[in-house]
Symmetry: C2
Subunit: 277 residues, 2 copies
């Protein structure tokens, strides 16, 4: 492990073209001790094989991304979504992931009933909580930037995600700088979240945004976010977990993944790690 | 005036290619009793001439867009911005606009100090308040969608804009469906705003967003917003002002403005007006 990288985790999405084996190898070569896995590449190799790859390399799993998409109003779609989330919980357990990140879903096609969608998320999470507890996996509700409210996640603020998480004894939240940096209350809400913070994810917010707003995440230092205040606020809660770098970005994905990883380590050391102490 | 349009106002930006004279004429032809003016087209014809055009046509001015851009840290830029806002206040007074909408500005180029930018907005508004009061113009702080936090407005929620407005006796807020529809607290914050609501602006939020996110505003009915709850919440405060339709959208701007206006009237009558009662 490289000095200063003790809490860094490579979220697989940052090196989107790499298989689990390649990403594990990339972490080992870079001295990164943890990895945030995604279901699709894990399923491509098989959950047991992915778990073995990570374990044999001596890496921690920081999270599994992602469950969620729980807003369907159609009963069959809803049943399928809940079943798929149970499967994701099973996968997280087998991988040794401490939490399953939930991107809760947007408005169903054609619907404008935002309050209804939010209520269905609360209901579905309630349904999943006992199963997650039985498998030793914690659910991490992820508030997404409000620009994704309609198509990705009707949980739009940390306040809202935390209010829902706190209605259960053991549900937590995912804190991601990209989604939350603009929120005037974010430092106070991070403090309120305290031990409910299950994962801390960092990347930058690019201005101007790329044409596809799903790919507006950038390498730390390439956008407008000051990582000091949010990172210090997370550290002040006593959060001792990993810091995942999760970047959706066409240019990052087109670059050599090994170079992306080395840039990620440099930027993390310069812009994030100093505020974790 | 056409039945049902008694409170509709054409924000000039919706018919972006029209001069003040053309927009005034378009309102008269469509039976729209009010207009939301923009500084650039007003200055193009001259403030006195624009005021006369509106007055002679028997239209109300619902607002003047826009002042703001008050986040500069450079002293000279800041002085220039405050002076320009004084000029905008003069223009609003001469036009008979009840309020000047302030889009407060984003991060200065190269800066990541969001808290500092927000403080400079508060300081600049404090500086402008006495002048606005002396001219009989109210300042309307407009919270913009969080996706514009870095480049347009560091006021990102109604809560935040209202908290700032309430530190002064006579400053208000602009409530715009596009910017606020995602906010889980928006109905409660509209209620809290009460008489501080100086303008209510409507347009839709398009999904997927166009490549240029500044042009993501759509005609009511073309996006994901349910106008009922926000409109009813605004009406419940006793708001008796005009309802402006303000659309930034390349397709709308490329269309025949007269057709845009007639579509706007139809959509307003179907999707907004019923909830004003």
């Amino acid at each position: 492990m490289t000095q200063g990288l003790e809490r860094l985790s490579l979220n697989q999405k940052t090196t989107n073209s790499w298989s689990v084996a390649e990403a594990v190898d990339g972490c080992v070569r870079a001295g990164i001790p943890a990895i945030g896995l995604w279901r699709e590449p894990v399923q491509a190799v098989g959950v047991a094989a992915a778990a073995k790859l990570v374990r044999d390399a001596g890496l921690r799993v920081s999270s599994l991304c992602r469950g969620g998409f729980l807003t369907a109003s159609d009963p069959d779609e809803r049943t399928a979504a809940v079943a798929d989330n149970r499967l994701a919980i099973d996968e997280a357990a087998e991988l040794g992931a401490p939490c399953l990140v939930l991107v809760v879903g947007g408005l169903p096609a054609g619907s404008k009933d935002l309050a209804g969608a939010r209520q269905r998320v609360a209901d579905a999470v309630a349904e999943l909580v006992p199963y997650a507890a039985s498998r030793g996996v914690r659910l991490a509700l992820e508030p997404l930037h409000p620009m994704y409210c309609a198509d990705r996640a009707v949980l739009s603020t940390l306040t809202q995600a935390l209010d829902l998480a706190l209605t259960f004894p053991d549900v937590g939240v995912a804190v991601d700088t990209f989604h939350l940096w603009w929120d005037p209350n974010v430092a106070a809400e991070i403090a309120r979240a305290g031990e409910r913070i299950l994962t801390y994810q960092v990347c930058d917010f690019l201005v101007p945004m790329p044409a596809d707003n799903l790919l507006a995440r950038g390498m730390m230092g390439d956008g407008v976010i000051d990582f000091a205040p949010m990172t210090a606020a997370v550290a002040a809660t006593g959060y001792a977990g990993d810091v995942e770098v999760e970047i959706f970005n066409a240019d990052v994905w087109a670059a050599d993944p090994s170079r992306v990883v080395s840039t990620m380590c440099e930027r993390y050391l310069a812009l994030v790690a100093p505020y974790l102490a």
